[in-house]
């Protein structure tokens, strides 16, 4: 009987392949007629969906032909045990499913597209799950449409349940409300080993009740109406499902690491201590041989901000429990901490990372006025179309805040206003607010708001000079008591990477580095002359108050799917690249390099290494990894 | 060969087969030395269970009316002298049936004798 089954599956597969080939040819033809290059992504996604349908069809098919041919009774007279019969049916279909899966993987790699991105693992799991679930439902009804409806519903329920279990386990382990965990773990499956393994185990455990109940019920399968068989299968299924649920919940709890959320921040402090931000709400301060831990016992999700002032640190975090952003002061000596300011989430004009800036001993951020915050509701992502906003300045020494209120012309829909400069003229303070493809607005301390023109890309304020983009050039201005004066305009595609650095004290900078037309260039801030420094093969970092660094990548632009084997770190100074250090990556994982004021953090395969400026010697801390 | 088995008769079928074969022998349809049909063929012909035919053949052989030699099947044997006593036995059996019938119709022995005379003429 094996031959019959393989032939049947072979025939069905042939139809499937022909239909798939037809679809691909159709797309290729359309592309060719339109003069476009072959849309690899579209094809892969189309094939993926088609393959999903085929997997369901394969799963539902074992008895379809036999039933249609009225051969079910004959089938049962054949000298096979019920279990053997089921295996004979399963094997060729499983083989076909696996074969076509690998063909898709091959095609996916050959065509070089990134159609699924992080979702490929989720697709693969769904594909095999759909096959197994469909197979276990293949006797639920004679009508194929009804069967496929059941299979679709079961698959949705199954995937939702798996996700729920992963989320529940994760939230349970880390004290995080599940609603907030969301589908995030699944988007990280390609990169995060513990999430992937957990997902696979959960998938298998949760798929097992379907198949097991089917095999168990099939032992007593005969020609009686489907209803009796279904009832029997359900009786096996329900307790098995509960068992699978409990065990996979346990797995999700035990196996998942916080790596999905472990944007665990390492920050080298000026005193060469290491601040490690874990979550929820945990901090560790490492000295060479010892560490001190702080558990705030609140579900703080730390942001990337660390503001240093003598003896104290100011950190910002998203408080999951009350949906607000907290500004937290931490004493370096006794680790006493306090929430200096609590900002409900709908008040913040944009996400915390870009909202907070430091100048001198002050912190500053923008928030909506109360009426407008209430109008915007609980969605901080709703852009600030309204025109009343408030500037809040926190003195880090006294921890007191001052609020200034402004009326500004509306900002474009997609971009929120971001503070990027602070300065003063004739004793009057002002702050600059802008974004790409938006107006630059000067906010005076007396409450006046002044529009200073438009910038196509993100503007910058450096060495008392304002840099804006005209669309084909970089324009440099000086800011007198009102308005702006253009001092110089330089043609080219510029990219200045200084917009998002958190310290705005750039008054003493003598030079600025950026990218123009794939080259690294240097602008002297005294003479306003531009020099070429070298080819652009990586990223430029600016560390306040005036140091520029360049991280050269092995592959630039980065090759998809292939992490770098090395990075080279240079200092950009006086128009020259000064080689500092080469970092070598050992694993298959993407390495993360983070450069900030005090040094470089390198994360690779879950290990963290730290190098401090100026010599980039490695700092060793006990119990770090 | 003309063998008939009465489905209604309470006589066991294999007995009827034995009777029928004996009758056939007596009437000359089967002679000494003739091959009896195989069990299979006779069963197929008469629509009988082969076991039944086998039983009949076995009984025939036990009574001496056939013998199974040389593997080519059973052959009829008409033992000398037996033919006569066989004829007599069969006639007696038929006559008995006839008498029963006549008595049940109300005839006396006298009537029967008279009838026999009349028919003989």
């Amino acid at each position: 009987m094996n031959r019959k089954e393989w032939l049947e599956v072979g025939k069905q597969s042939l139809y499937f392949v022909m239909a798939a080939a037809g679809m691909v040819l159709l797309v290729a033809l359309m592309n060719w007629l339109q003069g476009k290059p072959l849309e690899a992504e579209k094809i892969i996604i189309m094939l993926g969906l088609w393959l999903l349908m085929f997997s369901m069809f394969l799963g539902l098919s074992p008895f379809a032909m036999d039933s249609k041919q009225k051969g079910m009774e004959y089938l049962l007279t054949l000298p096979y045990s019920r279990r053997r019969l089921l295996f004979i049916k399963l094997l060729p279909r499983l083989a076909a499913a696996v074969l076509f899966y690998f063909m898709l993987v091959l095609l996916y790699n050959i065509m070089g597209s990134d159609a699924f991105a992080g979702g490929f693992m989720a697709f693969s799991l769904a594909y095999f799950a759909l096959f197994l679930i469909s197979f276990s439902l293949s006797l639920v009804h004679e009508n194929f449409i009804v069967q496929s409806l059941w299979a679709g519903v079961a698959l949705c329920g199954y995937m939702a349940l798996c996700l729920f279990i992963c989320v529940l386990g994760f939230g349970w382990k880390f004290g995080m409300p599940s609603s907030w965990v969301g589908p995030r773990p699944w988007l990280n499956l390609n990169y995060d080993v513990s999430s992937l393994l957990t997902a696979i185990v959960v998938f298998l455990l949760m798929a097992a009740p379907f198949i097991a109940s089917f095999f168990l019920a099939f032992k007593k399968f005969d020609l009686r109406p489907a209803r009796a068989f279904n009832r029997r299968q359900l009786l096996f299924f329900a307790p098995l499902l509960l068992l699978a649920f409990a065990s996979s919940l346990g797995v999700a709890y035990l196996m998942q690491k916080s790596s999905a959320y472990d944007e665990s921040f390492y920050y080298i402090l000026e005193n060469r201590q290491l601040l490690k931000k874990g979550w929820p709400g945990k901090l560790t301060l490492h000295k060479e041989n010892r560490q001190r831990r702080l558990d705030t016992k609140r579900s703080f999700m730390w942001d990337w901000n660390v503001f240093e002032t003598p003896g104290k640190l100011f950190l910002t975090a998203y408080d999951v429990q009350d949906n607000s952003t907290a500004v937290i002061r931490l004493n370096l000596d006794d680790l006493a901490w306090d929430t200096v300011r609590r900002i409900p989430h709908n008040y913040l004009a944009n996400n915390a990372f870009s909202a907070f800036r430091q100048y001198g001993q002050n912190l500053v951020f923008l928030q909506r006025s109360r009426e407008e915050a209430e109008k915007a509701g609980m969605q901080p992502a709703v852009p600030l179309k309204n025109v009343r906003l408030e500037l809040v300045v926190i003195d880090m020494n006294s921890e007191k805040s001052k609020i200034l209120s402004y009326q500004i012309p509306p900002f474009p829909i997609r971009y929120n206003p971001v503070i990027f400069a602070h300065d003063e003229i004739d004793g009057r303070q002002f702050w600059l607010v802008g974004n790409q493809r938006a107006n630059i607005i000067r906010l005076w301390e007396d409450g006046q708001a002044e529009v200073l023109g438009f910038s196509h890309k993100m503007p910058a304020y450096f060495g008392h000079l304002l840099f804006s983009h005209s669309g084909k050039s970089l324009v440099i201005h000086r800011l007198p008591a009102s308005g702006r004066e253009t001092v110089k305009e330089i043609d080219g595609e510029f990219q200045l990477s200084v917009f998002f650095q958190s310290r705005m004290d750039t008054g003493n900078a003598r030079e600025i580095y950026g990218k123009r037309d794939k080259r690294i260039v240097r602008l002297d801030l005294d003479t306003l002359t531009m020099d070429d420094v070298g080819p652009e093969r990586g990223q430029i970092f600016f560390i306040s108050p005036g140091d520029f660094f360049y991280s050269e990548h092995e592959a630039w632009p980065s090759a998809h799917g292939k992490p770098d084997k090395w990075r080279k770190i240079y200092r950009l100074q006086d128009g020259k690249m000064v080689f500092l250090k080469q970092l070598n990556f050992r694993g298959p994982d993407f390495g993360h390099v983070w450069i900030d004021k005090s040094g470089i953090t390198l994360r690779e395969n879950g290990r963290t290494r730290l190098f401090a400026f100026p010599d980039l010697g490695e700092l060793k801390f006990k119990n770090l990894n | 060969m003309n063998l008939s088995i009465d489905a209604k008769s309470p006589l066991p079928v294999y007995q009827q087969v034995i009777q029928a074969i004996k009758l056939e022998v007596l009437s000359g349809g089967l002679r000494d030395g003739d091959l009896l049909p195989s069990i299979r063929d006779l069963a197929k012909l008469l629509k009988l269970n082969p076991n039944t035919v086998a039983k009949a053949y076995y009984a025939l052989e036990a009574e001496g009316f056939s013998e199974n030699r040389s593997g080519s099947g059973s052959r009829v044997r008409v033992p000398a002298g037996r033919q006569d006593s066989l004829r007599k036995a069969m006639l007696e059996s038929e006559f008995k049936n006839f008498l029963e019938k006549a008595v049940s119709l109300g005839f006396s022995l006298e009537d029967i004798k008279q009838l026999a005379e009349r028919i003989k003429k």
Partner: protein, 281 residues
């Protein structure tokens, strides 16, 4: 006495909450030909299916001896189920492969003029029955289960069918169980008769014994009360009375004409009696 070829112990079987077979026990020795009779829908086909393994019992067991493994059980169901789109050739090849059959005797098929290329769905009922028989007999089964197919066959094919069964039985010591409605052609064949009613066997006798136990009286007059009348047909002027169980003493007591009847009529009387009892219950 050797082990029975198949034995049923306390078998129960329900179809949509109705108990079709209720605690039935029976065994069949090697080489026996038994016929299972009963009115329509009483569970005969169900029993046959349970014996073949197509239907699985709710409770109780079907024990098949080692001489009757799955490969050696031949089952011809009244559905005559085969894969409709297949050709005769493919069906034959498949059956031979699955049952590990070396040689296939296609004389019957040739006799009916069936071509290897004919499709199953295009065959008549008779041709299908003969095809099934050929397939099943090529297994050289030690247990042959034949459901009510003979009534579907024309007289020629029916005779062919019966003769083939006889031939097979003569060549082997197979056990044959048939479910029959039409008895006349096979009246003399079965050694054992089982009549089924209410999920059980109400009659289980040898055909010889049964023929001795039931007699018929045709008369215009009503029957004396003392006679055990199992079933009667009183529509016409001449009424038919079926006496069961018949004893020799009854002949002495009554001057009635007790007629011998063949198996077909006996079974008809049992079935009729069954209907009567059901009506009166």
């Amino acid at each position: 006495m050797s082990q029975p070829i198949v034995e049923v112990r306390d078998l129960s079987f329900s179809f949509s909450r109705k108990k079709v077979i209720d605690g039935l026990s029976v065994s069949f020795p090697k080489g026996e030909w038994a016929v299972i009779a009963g009115r329509n829908g009483v569970g005969k086909s169900t029993l046959l299916r349970a014996l073949s393994g197509v239907l699985l019992p709710d409770s109780g067991k079907v024990i098949r001896s080692q001489e009757a493994p799955a490969k050696k059980i031949g089952f011809i169901s009244d559905a005559l189920s085969l894969f409709e789109d297949w050709t005769v050739e493919r069906a034959r090849a498949f059956h031979c492969r699955v049952f590990a059959i070396g040689e296939f005797d296609d004389r019957l098929l040739k006799r009916l003029g069936l071509s290897q290329k004919d499709r199953i769905k295009n065959l008549s009922a008779g041709e299908r029955a003969i095809l099934h028989l050929s397939l099943v007999l090529s297994q050289k089964p030690s247990l042959l289960l034949v459901d009510e197919v003979m009534h579907m066959l024309d007289p020629y094919i029916r005779e062919l069918f019966i003769e083939t069964l006889i031939e097979h039985l003569a060549a082997s010591r197979a056990t044959v169980l048939t479910v029959n409605h039409t008895f006349s052609e096979i009246e003399k064949i079965p050694e054992r008769v089982l009549v089924m009613d209410d999920g059980k066997f109400v009659i289980d006798e040898t055909s010889e014994a049964l023929r001795g136990k039931m007699k018929k009286i045709v008369s215009r007059d009503p029957l004396p009360e003392t006679l055990p009348c199992f079933f009667k047909k009183t529509d016409g002027i001449y009424k038919e009375y079926y006496i069961y169980p018949f004893r020799e003493e009854l002949l002495a007591d009554h001057a009635l004409d007790f007629q011998d009847i063949a198996l077909a009529e006996i079974i008809k009387a049992f079935i009729g009696g069954g209907y009567e009892q059901k009506r009166m219950a």
